[in-house]
Symmetry: C2
Subunit: 199 residues, 2 copies
């Protein structure tokens, strides 16, 4: 049973830290996470919530904060990574397709590794193609399906569902109707799942 | 020796959680914090960084998040508190004056308690007056000094110093030249002070 919903968009920087550590968190906690891709950019633009563009102090802090927190999990990303990514919708359409077919986590983990550790834009074809191969998929055929009207509509629907649930950023965690935003709230979400409060 | 600088503005919501728990954190850690009031609104307006105004999803989340995290420290604030506060500059001019005279922490702690626990705007005179009395000060005489050109200039200078240090939000913690933003980064700041990395 998936106890905690993990809502995310490839393209979010702090989601790198979550993706880097979530398998270890799942193993240590015994809690399953349900990975739910959506399009955070659609929501941010609609809500005029633009965190880093034209905000150099905040952007500089974000990269430093990500570096410090990644190091805690044994990771040394090359920062700043390319930002914003080119085609956020396509990246998350691929992820959504993969979540339904069992190769989504492998894809997301690899595309973040390439984006942050090797400097390859997660919304551009070199990264997407290589990450699909890493996840055992044929890039050309998969990209055709990821760009299909059906997959496009599925990501829109997921994003509308997220909006209705009050989600406005990535990563977000949901425990029942309780919402937690940010990699730094992952432990709060686990507390809530176990105890119904923060401990 | 003050090992960690605690930069804050009365008027910031998450700073409530820090003010509510910092005395206990200092006692438990043995680390002294140097309380530095500044005007976060000046910086946010200059940087076009407006976190909650016209962002209902983000604002609703913020109040819920503050409530959950305050409960962890045994507090049950009446939320939402009045927001934004009326005269943020005056409230922090009073705080700055108090920090130089030894009654600043008592004032800030009381004004936050009244703002969040009793619903009294921290930038309005009923709260400011009562909090000054609680901190052992004569409200009328203190307000004259808090509004003086000297105190106004001191808060502007503190804010310029904060801006130059890359500070863009409240609360912020500085350990040497390393910046940590948010009540949720207080433990990271302590890690950095002790180990030069997050553990």
């Amino acid at each position: 049973m998936a106890a905690i919903e993990f809502w995310f968009s490839i393209g979010s920087t702090y989601t790198y830290v979550t993706v880097a550590r979530l398998a270890a968190v799942e193993a240590a906690s015994g809690i399953a996470f349900d990975w739910r891709p959506f399009n955070v950019r659609t929501i941010m633009v609609a809500q005029n919530n633009i965190p880093f563009s034209h905000k150099p102090a905040k952007a500089a802090y974000m990269w430093r904060d990500v570096a410090r927190r990644a190091a805690r999990h044994g990771r040394a990303p090359r920062l700043p990574a390319p930002y914003p990514i080119k085609d956020l919708a396509l990246a998350n359409q691929v992820a959504l397709l993969g979540m339904g077919e069992g190769w989504g986590r492998a894809y997301v983990t690899e595309t973040y590794r390439r984006w942050f550790d090797a400097g390859e834009d997660a919304g551009d074809l070199p990264n997407i193609t290589a990450s699909l191969r890493h996840a055992g998929q044929d890039p050309e055929a998969t990209l055709v399906r990821a760009r299909s009207a059906e997959t496009v509509a599925a990501l829109v629907a997921a994003t509308e569902w997220a909006t209705a649930a009050g989600i406005f950023g990535s990563p977000s965690f949901r425990v029942g109707s309780e919402l937690f935003w940010g990699d730094d709230r992952l432990e709060d979400a686990i507390d809530w799942h176990r105890h119904g409060r923060l401990v």
